[in-house]
Amino acid sequence: SRFQEYDLLQFLDLERAPSPHRFQPVPPVLRKIFQAREAAAAGGASQDLCYVKELGVRGNLLRLFPDHGFFLNTQEPSRDGPCLQKFLYFNLSAVKEKGKLTMARLTLDLGPRSYYHLRPEVVVSLFVVEERGVWGRPHPKPGRMLALQSVPGPQGPVHFNLQGVLKDWNGSGRKNLGLYLEILAKGDRYSGVNVQVENTCDRLMRSLHASLLVVTLNPEHCHPSSRKRR
């Protein structure tokens, strides 16, 4: 009965027992990896716990960060301007333990795949925010562009590698002021596709979901890769 909970938490590399207010839905990517590991352990198969084969990277600690940002263009998307502007913010204060960052993948889920939303093409551009806003709500000022990607149909997940950005934020003292996301729907003015563009913008505003998957490798728990370097 005098269970040394504190010792077990320390042993599990946790400062104290978390007390979340509400449970987040378990991201499919983590659930899939967890279930594969459980099945392997139940089957007695030996496994390299420091290699995440589903992601193709080494690591023994995977964290999925939800986006705490907000939409910037709350008014109707302008006809020829961007369909959607969003400030993305991930609270990375938890990533402080020793360990090598091996993956930082931003996933923008544009919504469920379906046959009805195959068009129009959208252009996704992503910037680092380098200056907070100067008035009222911190309307961020987009700084360096990180990515510009054309997506044939506004649906399904789009991934961006942010490992360099996180290394900047962790290493060179650049503060994590968030990211600036802009999505432009490329309607064709003459084929009356604009109605579709507006529907697309409305749907994206409703269904867009951003998350950041960070994988770290703790050298104390993971011995140098036993794999032969090819």
Binding site: F3, E5, L8, L12, D13, A17, P18, S19, P20, R22, F23, Q24, V26, P27, L30, R31, I33, F34, R37, E38, A41, G44, Q47, L49, C50, N60, L61, L62, R63, L64, F65, P66, N91, S93, A94, H221
Partner: protein, 114 residues
Amino acid sequence: AAIPVPKGSCRSLCHRHQLFISFRDLGWHKWVIAPKGFMANYCHGDCPFSMTTYLNSSNYAFMQALMHAVDPNVPKAVCIPTKLSPISMLYQDNDENVVLRHYEDMVVDECGCG
């Protein structure tokens, strides 16, 4: 001469004892998503010389048990884990992040004399 097999029941011989730690008992079910707990099995039991030949034992355990039979000052071979497996924990931290963490060599699957 063959040393007679001890009369003691098998229960006293080295084997794996199962112990399950339920996260609900610790109140951890409020933040651990999966699994529901983990096996904190342990190894315990006697390693008499006559058993070391097949109690999943190592060669030096056989020699040590033999030496103990000759000179009781030599300690007996001991009951230790011979096969371990990892666990993975899926939990939520205080910043609403979902975390998947792996811990090696957490569960004792098999025991033997070592």
